[in-house]
Symmetry: C2
Subunit: 239 residues, 2 copies
């Protein structure tokens, strides 16, 4: 497998960084190819704005999607965006490695999605979800949390982790076509001691070595929806 | 009322910006005080990192929460963070005005939360949710979407907007103590024409003039949870 690991933690000696190093070592040792974007070390630009498009289609009115489309067609996407897209389309698996901050990814990783998932290249023209540009590939979140597992249950104080991460796993990853694997979570990583963290690395290793066989989260494919993009009656429950 | 409007759109002539201007005018005309942070115009720093803490407690190992605590205690928080916190604690109502990008806020607004909601000042020490530092205040998201309302229903292709925004409304706003009002949404703002957008501004005006009387989203207060932070049996359903 070709694995693209996107890492978003500002401290290179953090446990999130240790998980990243462990993933690189484990996957490489198992014969897979790994490429890494360490967003904080790269000082990756977080904000999608007109500065990304010096040869703007409309310098007087910045419309992100229109500029993305034009820049893709004319080969004028910013070099740092193109470099990320090259890794995205090279890889079979995308790993997002981050600490859960405010029930979401750190801003620099949200900015990576805002800037790299460009209209014209990664979505648009009716390509989305199971018809998305990255269909046939897999993605997984690997994260640390401050709180323990119980408060991320469906009746726990913070709400279920599935619900918390819905915007990432469904709204970002499934949207562009990925099959999304259940997240790997190091709960309360800062509070479990060195032994606890060592156990997390061992458990993470198992998940890394089964990326190609782990069943994905069963999000509904497009054919489960009617022409008004509503779930067909035969499928119960919510999206 | 004192209203703090945080605006996150890179184009000053966008409809999101028009909503911001409409909110300032409507609220001011009704006798309320309004202060605004236009994050893109301010070129607000989006990434929480060691650069925020030049007088670091531990220059060799960046721990965001520990640095935030120490900087708060010693008055060493970065000037741009302090300025935002001053507006936060000045205001009765926080309005977040943004385009929905990838089922979430633009990265610059996520970075505003990452950097401004500091441990020690905005959360921590057991103060959270209905005991949070901003309890007694109200917050509301006002957003534009690309897609129409139907695809954000509970059986629609993108999932319910409640579920999409759970990480913002519950994980960020309710977490620090806000009573969160139902969002105001300008669906498919780019596709409804000038008449449609004028109608949205009229509907937004009604919401702005009833910020103090609109019933908040009924998230569970802390007393609904047991000592393990699980919903007590008498409360059905999920968090």
């Amino acid at each position: 497998m070709k694995v693209f690991l996107v890492h978003a933690h500002p401290e290179p000696r953090s446990f999130t960084a240790a998980m990243k190093d462990h993933a690189i070592q484990t996957l490489t040792h198992a014969g897979h190819e790994v490429r890494v974007s360490d967003l904080c070390a790269m000082r990756f630009k977080a904000s999608l704005d007109a500065d990304d498009f010096p040869a703007a289609a409309d310098p007087a009115f910045f419309k992100a999607q229109a500029e993305q489309m034009k820049a893709h067609e004319t080969g004028a996407l910013a070099a740092d965006i193109l470099a990320e897209q090259e890794k995205l389309f090279w890889s079979d698996v995308l790993l997002l490695q981050f600490p859960l901050w405010w029930s979401s990814v750190p801003a620099i990783l949200k900015g990576w999605v805002d800037r790299v998932f460009t209209m014209g290249r990664v979505y648009g023209g009716g390509r989305w979800f199971s018809d998305g540009a990255l269909r046939g590939r897999r993605a997984m979140c690997a994260l640390t949390t401050g709180g323990p597992e119980g408060i991320y249950g469906s009746r726990g104080r913070n709400g279920s982790l599935d619900k918390v991460l819905f915007h990432v796993q469904h709204g970002m990853l499934a949207f562009v076509g990925y099959e999304v694997l259940p997240p790997f979570v190091a709960w309360s990583a800062a509070r479990v001691g060195d032994d606890g963290r060592a156990r997390y690395l061992g458990a993470y290793r198992e998940r890394l070595l089964t990326l190609d066989t782990t069943p994905p989260i069963p999000f509904h494919p497009l054919e489960h929806f009617d022409e008004k993009l509503q779930l067909k009656a035969e499928f119960p429950g919510e999206v």
